[in-house]
């Protein structure tokens, strides 16, 4: 393995792994020894730590901006979505993936199961919040890559989304189970029960 590859591997770990970044913040040398092979350490140690940390912050901000652009309705009604995503990101360094889905949607899809679980378990959030997030992410992804995806929701999420687009926040919408199928051509839905 050449020195350039070692530098890239070590730097990208410092930039994206929350625990390693924390060590680097306290003691750059300690983090570098932990993640870099011997012949890459001097170069990494010569970087300005403040610049590396600022860059790491910028990478996270860009990632969130991309995700937020994918789920504008969820961002509007789920107050702590950014914080939830950032906490999740710290423990899930982004992996290279080949996809035709836009970057923000691909990243939202990567985090979706965990974020939706988190929202489901939070009594402080609207009971339809997780389903709205899933609805937005899956519809964007399927429009882009044509892969069929489905959602069984307890609420009429398409109607809730419509209200939100008009600037209205639904108060206590009724339980109305729906099945949604997302594809390249848009979303198809069926009322259940």
């Amino acid at each position: 393995m050449n020195v350039l590859a070692k530098l890239q591997d070590a730097l990208s770990t410092i930039l994206t792994d929350g625990e390693v970044e924390e060590v680097y913040r306290r003691s750059p040398g300690e983090a570098i020894v932990a993640v870099a092979e011997r012949d890459a350490r001097d170069t990494l140690a010569g970087l300005e730590a403040q610049e590396v940390l600022r860059y790491a912050r910028g990478l996270r901000r860009k990632r969130w901006d991309d995700v937020a652009a994918t789920v504008p309705l969820s961002v509007r009604v789920i107050g702590g979505l950014e914080g939830r995503y950032r906490t999740w990101l710290q423990a899930h360094p982004p992996e290279a993936q080949d996809t035709v889905v836009p970057v923000g949607a691909a990243e939202a899809l990567r985090a979706l199961v965990d974020l939706a679980d988190d929202l489901h378990q939070d009594p402080g959030e609207a009971p339809w919040a997780a389903e709205l997030l899933v609805f937005e992410v899956l519809s964007t992804c399927s429009r882009a890559d044509g892969v069929l995806r489905g959602l069984q929701a307890q609420y009429a999420i398409h109607r809730i989304a419509e209200e939100l687009r008009k600037g209205l926040v639904p108060i206590d919408p009724p339980l109305e189970p729906h099945a949604y199928a997302f594809g390249a051509g848009g979303v198809r839905m069926k009322r259940l029960g």
């Binding site: 050449n2 890239q8 010569g46 360094p93 290279a96 836009p102």
Partner: protein, 276 residues
Amino acid sequence: MSEGFVGAGIGYRRVHRAALLGPEPGPDLLEIMPEHFYAHPEELDALAERYPLVFHCVGLSIGTAVDDLHGDDVTRAQLARLRPLIERVKPLFLSDHLAFTRAPNGIDLGHLCPLPCTEESYALVAERLHVWQDELEVPIALENIAHPFIWPGDTMSEAAFFQRLVDETGCGLHLDVTNLLFDARNFGREPEALLNDYPLESAWAVHLAGGVHSARDRFWTDTHDQPIEEEVFSLLRVLRGVAPLRAAIVERDRRLPPLADLLAEARRAAALLREP
């Protein structure tokens, strides 16, 4: 590669599609991010019928230090999608950045990270450029990024790195004037002197964008969400009669103003470059 200055271009954003294909005059050229069309290449056809196109990529990650000369697995997949898209609409050229966005260990930074300017980096980038040029059969230019930091131990300046690349591979320089200005401000250089270090005689296009200054970090960032600064326009004058430019392209990704405002910025830049 020059066959004359085409004029004022803007980065294509879907929200402007109807206006760009409508009856009003549009830009002289459109810059397309091919990643946005891999799933639906047919959506490019109407744009290509009306405008000359250039392709601008952000994720080929030319600097990822893997042994495969094409690049990592994601790059290989993207190259396979690019080829038919290039054949379909025949862009004037394709550009990406002198940077890496993915590490060999599979971590995706999601943004441009500078390469150390060393012989090792140079050999990798030059060889990969040859492979891509052969495979894609389209002129390729590389763009200077806004540096978040400077690597210690560089054995040449980035400008010298570019000079060697254009001399030895025939690639072009896609000069981002805003990135260069912010690099100068962030790292203590005089902008015009820094600009003159680059191989301007191989600059095929310029990018212009806006950015912000963080008082907390004392750092300029090219956020692509602001109008273009006057100093960027001023620097364009250095390029007149020196650079064989095909286009001046405005990049705006967020807080999109009306299309007319973007066109006005692009036309102003083109007019400055056309002045005798």
